[in-house]
Amino acid sequence: MSRARRGWVAGAGALATLAVALATWSTLPERTSSGAPRAPSAATGASASLDSPSPDARHTVAAPGTAPDAPLLDGAELADLLARIQRAYEAGDASELEALLTALVARPEQLDVVADWLASAHAARAPEACLGAFVVLEAAIGLYERDPARFGRAGVALVERLLDELLVLPEDMQARLVRLFQRVRGPNGPVLDLRFLRRILDLRAAHPADAERFVPLLAHVAQGFGAAERREEFQRLFLEGQDDPLLVKCALSSLLSGAPEVFLPLAEDFYARSAEDARLRSAIAQSIAASAPVEDATRSLVHLADEAQYGAFATLGSRPSAGEAIAREYDALLAENANPVARKLLVSTMRDERAEVLVGIAGMDPDPMVGLQATLTLSVRGEMDSARFAEVRELFSSGGRLPHGGALVAENVLLHSSGAVRDSARAWLVEIVRDGRATDVVRLDAYQRVRRWVEPGTFRGVQIGGRVVE
């Protein structure tokens, strides 16, 4: 049964169950966790709509509990239901979860009661129900964002309320709520977007001692940035939060996409001054890689080249049209035999380059570490054919261009290739282990990489550094 179909059938069952449940909530019958679909009940008056799940039919479903005069769940009854929701979540029982959640999320005012309960002392005494409350909040925010025709601004109001109350919650709940905000998504991406920037900044300003608690909430706020009038706010963020990597990344990403000519030199200067803060450097490099115009970003990252920025270079390499800019920069550096670290990092991004080009770089670049990088890029990206493998193997042979790193390449091939090539890679590693001319550490390293791929006893009697390895 398709996912959509299952959802509608389960929804029908949910309505049948909940029509009864809301009347006498405390006697709500336990359901099995089988998730078996139940027949729609005429009591819900919704079966016709549920049987034809067209977009138009969505809003004809009359969910139980939506009547304005129906009592809202509170106290022990609410806690019981929240605990059941958490159990259904832990069991991965989607049908049960759908059934239980439908009753609560159908009326936004019920979510206010859930939020009240969460902020009360009762929540701390009922950990299972407390976790269930977060499941309900997440479902409600996601649903309200997707269905504004039915729920209006209920999602925005709920998010604003929860933001305002964030600091009231105990620390563990704060962390849980922050994670919820970071992942909850609407139809157009993360819910916590630019609409909430002003509020989050105001909250940070109002609670300076706890300002850092709001920083993770800004992770997605930068997405969709475009309005020029917001730039000042990001500029302020950048200036205020220069010691917080996430804040810097968030603000800088927006500033670099809006005004790279102004902020790229600032970012580079900031990077140079942050030599001992690896997280901050990563945040700056990632912002440049992701947000500055591709040509500028490539030049800038080459200028900053640092072996700890493979991730930033990978981000750059994943951008459309980055391949040409990267190839141009590499060629220019190679022509001058300049900046081998930058060349190495540029080559690490060439995952989509033709195999013969990468083998060519491995055989031609004057720096052996760049050559090794080319073979790593080639071998880590997927299956390698036997002809290329033979060429690579030759580069690492005695008297070959690449004196170090054969075991790393062989292991990559072992992980990503199959058949005869895979067997050859395993044999290569075994050869390194047995090679008495190699250093002990190189042989031991190869042994650690290959031993789970060979039969026990393969190295019986082999000595490394005076010790028998098996």
């Binding site: 959802g7 979540y89 998504r185 990503h416 031991l444 650690q448």
Partner: protein, 154 residues
């Protein structure tokens, strides 16, 4: 001992500025600095949640964000110009930057019989390399029987 070696990929390389083995022309009075292990997540994340449908809308509930790729930079030493009289910063070895591929899976919660959606990563090999530095004495130590490395870590 073997386990210790498994985390490192040693490649002896001549010291920087060693001048062909005759020692640096002038002592830079610099030492190497520790850099801790670093993990870096890459790509567009997905959420490892329980998929449900409410009022016809598909939602994912719970679970953490799961990035498709995770890089691990091993702990090492770098040279940032930290002043230290009588020493210089030298290349010691090259270490691998490893990569893992990650995806959502259901992981068992011990002792409960439950499984929760989780991001599970598997080793995918070596993406690149980084250089590990060390601190060396500019002049050989006066006492015999020891190497020239100070072994000092910042």
């Amino acid at each position: 001992m073997l386990v210790l070696f498994s985390t490192l990929f040693f490649m002896p390389i001549l010291p920087l500025d060693a001048g062909g083995g005759v020692g640096p022309p002038a002592c830079p009075n610099e030492r190497a600095c520790d850099v801790g292990v670093k993990f870096e997540e890459q790509g567009t994340p997905r959420t490892c949640g329980v998929g449900i449908s409410l009022f016809g809308f598909d939602l994912s509930i719970g679970g953490d964000e799961c990035y498709p790729m995770r890089l691990t930079y091993p702990a090492h030493q770098e040279c940032h110009g930290k002043r230290n009289v009588g020493t210089y910063c030298a290349v010691e070895q090259v270490q691998p930057v490893s990569v893992e591929h990650c995806d959502c899976s259901r992981a068992a919660v011990l002792g409960t019989g439950f499984t929760l959606p989780d991001c599970v990563c598997t080793a995918a090999g070596t993406l690149g390399t980084l250089t590990d530095y060390k601190t060396e004495n500019c002049a050989p130590p006066p006492v015999q029987g020891g190497g020239s490395s100070t072994g000092g870590r910042s």
